[in-house]
């Protein structure tokens, strides 16, 4: 059964990647403005010959279908091409920008989702009481406060409270572990807070739903302690929507939390994509978005597998 699931998912994956590759390929070419003119920059004295040369070098003078096939063909062979300007392989560029994003994703998810389960359960247990209402208001606030605003306010506050604390930019963990974690604190909070708000509300609703089920009444009737009822019997059922949401959130975070990366000056995937679009670095945009899509699909695939672990019925 699991084998068939995996096979079906791999087929889906191939389809999604093909679709995304076509859409990205067309979309970036539909952005107004002659790409070659932009690559060469304003203000410079650019001769028509220079433009023609670059156009030819990038293959932009050939028909769209041919361009796509050439690109897709080499991508299938593992060659994602190289950046228009630096000539650096696109794969290297992506790898370089992947680590900050990955680190930020893991940290903010671990904290946001990790806290959401106990907080959500607590809210469900305290349903209707003052504390529940207060937490729900807090969650709404967490959802509605834009993370860039939160980010800037936190930077300002920290600058006042601890002026020497280096909170901006990024240093690799391998070269300076403390400096790395120091700089991760604020962006992690800025990302984790909305995740916590979102997921704790979800857990609360799912828990309330589960707690109303017959099997819970049975568990209570047979004298199981409340902790056990909540965390073993109810939670397991409530986890399905939670896991789905975590999967989707991971996908988004992998795409680079662009706004947070901008505010905290973190060189992650979001900034890579943004910069590449601005300079119409076609190979870089195409490959980066493809890789992000791959990550998104893979995470959701894992989520599907997790369903099987949580809910035996999925295993069929």
């Amino acid at each position: 059964m699991l084998g068939r699931l995996v096979l079906a998912r791999i087929l889906d994956l191939a389809l999604v990647l093909f679709g995304v590759s076509v859409i990205v390929f067309l979309m970036i070419r539909m952005i107004p403005g002659d790409a070659v003119a932009i690559m060469l920059g304003a203000n410079a004295e650019v001769t028509p010959e220079a433009m023609a040369e670059l156009r030819g070098r990038l293959g932009l003078d050939r028909p769209l279908v041919e361009q796509y096939l050439v690109w897709a063909g080499s991508a299938l062979q593992g060659d994602l091409g190289s950046s228009v300007w630096t000539g650096r392989p696109v794969a290297d560029e992506i790898l370089l920008h992947l680590w900050p994003t990955l680190e930020l994703t893991v940290l903010s998810l671990a904290i946001g989702a990790g806290l959401a389960v106990p907080v959500g359960c607590l809210m469900a247990q305290l349903r209707g009481r003052g504390a529940d209402v207060a937490m729900r208001v807090g969650a709404i606030a967490g959802l509605t406060i834009p993370s860039f605003w939160l980010g800037i306010v936190m930077i300002l506050l920290l600058a006042k409270l601890a002026p020497g604390f280096a909170s901006l930019g990024y240093v690799p963990f391998s070269t300076d572990p403390i400096g790395n974690l120091q700089r991760m604190v604020l962006p992690t909070i800025a990302l984790a807070l909305p995740i916590l708000a979102n997921l704790s509300r979800l857990v609360r609703t799912a828990m309330l739903d589960a707690l109303g089920q017959d099997y819970i009444r049975t568990a209570r009737a047979k004298g199981a302690p409340e902790r056990l009822v909540v965390y073993r019997h109810a939670l397991r059922n409530a986890l399905i929507p939670f896991v789905t949401s975590v999967g989707i959130l991971t996908g988004y975070l992998l795409g680079g939390a662009i706004v947070v990366e901008q505010v905290f000056a973190i060189p992650g995937l979001g900034r890579l994509i943004l910069g590449a679009i601005a300079e119409r670095n076609y190979p870089l945009v195409q490959a980066t978005i493809l890789v992000v899509t791959l990550g998104f699909v893979l995470v959701n695939f894992m989520v599907d597998l997790l369903y099987g672990l949580i809910d035996p019925r999925v295993r069929g």
Partner: protein, 501 residues
Amino acid sequence: MGLKKLRTTMLAGGMSVLATGAVAQTLELATDLSPAGLDPHIATAFATHQVTTGLLYEGLTGVDQDLSIVPVLAESWSVSPDGLTYTFKLREGVTFHDGSAMDAEDVVASIERVQSQDIASPLASRVSAVESATAVDPRTVELKLKEPSAPLLSSLTSIAIVPSEAKADKEALQKAPVGTGPFRFQEWQPNGYLLLAGNEDYWQEGVPKVDALKFNFVPESATRQVGLVNGQYQMLPHLDAATALQLQGQPGVKLEETLDLAYILVGMNASKPPFDDPKVREAVNYAINRDDIVQAALFGAGVPAGPLSPALKQWALDVSEYPCYEHDPAKARALLEEAGVQMPVKVTMNVLPRQDIRDVAQVVQAQLNDAGFAVELNNQEQGQFVQDWRNSNFDMFASLNAGSVDPDEYFYRAFRTDGSTNVFKYSNPELDALLDKGRSTQDQAARKEIYDQVQRTLACSGPAAHIAYSRLATATRDEVQGYDILATRSLGTLADTSVGR
């Protein structure tokens, strides 16, 4: 152990003070402009210029604080009486960052590299007058020109000298630049930072004064400002007026200011109605109130602009010399009536996507609409703006253009018939003759007279209404010393900058 280590470090620091006269330190800068590549002949965008010119690379000549041409890698030069042969004597003891000596072959290779079709350098037109470059001996380079070119020495300031091995290579220098400058390339994390280390073998004694420069690429303006105030960054170079205003008076922060060489302009398309009529262009100048624009859009941090920046002291005429700079909407209307165009004159103005330019455009729109125009603003995406600009697909545009040190460099390409950036499609035979004469005249006083005339011609009925030169500011922490801001936006003076207590 911690304390002991600290003490050892301090001791080492003290030793290096004795040894080099400077404290071991990294100067942290923050800028939003992440360069796309570091080859000075290929990547010519401002983001690259800022981190390379005068830091990693140097030319035969350079520009000093007063915007005069000074010798850099060339120690001296002589010009033949007919103005067709330039002979440069190269400085002795200059080495590239890879350790090899810089000689005449490298200079020849660099010039030929910029001229080469294959490299397709946007700087090619700067050396288009050069017919041949020859290495006479290892320290002597001779340039033969097709025609006399008075701005050659100024043009050469922007031609970086690179090792001759790079001549046909389009990729190596983009990733790992090798120059002769006071700093050498160390590490580049795209979108993250660029780290330059002090060049111990630099030809000039006692510089650079800091051990390293770190350019942090920080896209968010608010983040850069906080970083400067809390001390994580020590310098924010080349700020616009609004940002400078916000940083003014912050504790521990000081501002270095100069007038910008870059100019804000409103360009007009002289190839089609209504701006094909000089009277309509003159009307625009009468309708615009430059003082009000400076106040309203630049927060007072700037000056009304003539065709040349007052930073170019030896060339620029005072704006009081231009009659059309007197704000007079009635006169503007009269001119429009004379021109026989239907009022209100309906035109569209493309606007460069920058906050200061958008603000200027709005004020200009209001002023023109008061004087018989009906201007519609078209706020464009950068790419679209550039494309329309290049294809002369506009009635009017509002933009910011980089300035040049020699008047010929700006005027000839922008306003001569078929000039390489004459997007206005302006053609004026009298002006063409003046520009040709200015290019071939060697005598400074005679050139000055020619360019006075050029400025007068362009100011009122030219295809560009020059609006303002902004005040350009660099914000630094108090402990940063010895930095001078340059109107060319080169950061070359960082070599003389130190970070003290």
